[in-house]
């Protein structure tokens, strides 16, 4: 079984979102729920395209924000677990890479 870091998170298709000034606004039209993410969370959200593994995403975060790779991986896992639990993120074992 793959670890969470090896999985490829993707934004749920039943949500609409936009990133403005580095912050993501996520709308669930069916539930009428609006979520705003902070800058790091928004970057993870933006990178969650179903093509990159969480490990790759955490490494990008580590390069862009002042955080060690280990901390970024740990925090990214917590964050994605939380969003996955809320049904906002889907986790796939196989990353869907562009041909």
């Amino acid at each position: 079984m793959k670890s969470l870091l090896e999985m490829c998170p993707s934004r749920h298709s039943r949500l609409a979102s936009r990133i403005i000034d580095g912050e993501a606004v996520i709308v669930s039209p069916t539930e009428g729920v609006i979520t705003i993410l902070n800058r790091v969370g928004s970057r993870i959200w933006g990178l969650s395209d179903g093509k990159k593994s969480l490990k790759d995403i955490a490494d990008i975060i580590s390069g862009e924000f002042e955080v060690t790779r280990e901390t970024a991986r740990c925090d990214a896992q917590e964050f994605i677990k939380d969003l996955s639990g809320k049904g906002m993120i889907k986790l796939a074992g196989t990353c869907h890479c562009e041909a």
Binding site: L15, R18, I20, V25, P29, G32
Partner: protein, 278 residues
Amino acid sequence: MLLNLSRETTIEVAGISACLRLNEEAFFHEVKKSYQMFRSDNPPDMIVDIDIKPSSYNRKDDAFKISFFKDKLVIASDEFSGYFDLTELKGKVEIYSKWPLEILGNFLRNIYSVYIINSGGIVLHASGVVKDDEAYIFFGPSGSGKSTVVELSMPHIALSDDLIVIKRVNGRYKSFGIPYWGNINRNSGINASFEIKGLFNLVKDDHVYLERLARTRALAEIIAIPDIPGGIPLAHRLLDRYIGLLNHVPCYKMHFLRSSTFWRCIDEEFARDVSVKA
């Protein structure tokens, strides 16, 4: 001059014209009088048949249900039932109420809202006031003070105390006067559009001040995805429309109490904004 023997009249709201065809003479004249500010000679974008039925019903509940069957919007309550076909742009309402004008307003307001959203506009649960030929839009949940702001803004022109239509016209965001009102009973309203100066999210407080909202916060406050067919594609389009609006129009959280001093705050804010830009 030929006599117009048909009981039909065309109104135009936010640039969208609707031909209203009525079955009953007295109500026809009532409708014509009530919507006189919005009468139009333009060819209609939509047609609505209105049938007045006899009623002895005493209102217990004025709530109504809105549902969709394919491309047909269906609205019904204890006092009316009607539909609007979004493909054919034709609708019909049967009214069996002692307050048919009010009921017709509710019906038209809903079909207009859906039509405007489907055709690229924004409909906000908000009030609007015109000052120096510019529109100030006040939004918030029920009870936040939308009607109060309009009352406190007399004698400035009000666009509505309940529903605001926004459209992008030649790159500028304009708000339109409409004949649909909430708590304040206005006979007609104003049939004109005004460029939007600012958006104000109402919060009751014990003193008056404005707080400029970043676009993300403003979007989260203003966004309202209506429950109409369109699902996620419509939600994406609406997000883009709101962002476009917020790119052009500043948005503030307006802390206020029941006093017209909020206008001094707004004037000072925009005067400061002008001096900073200069």
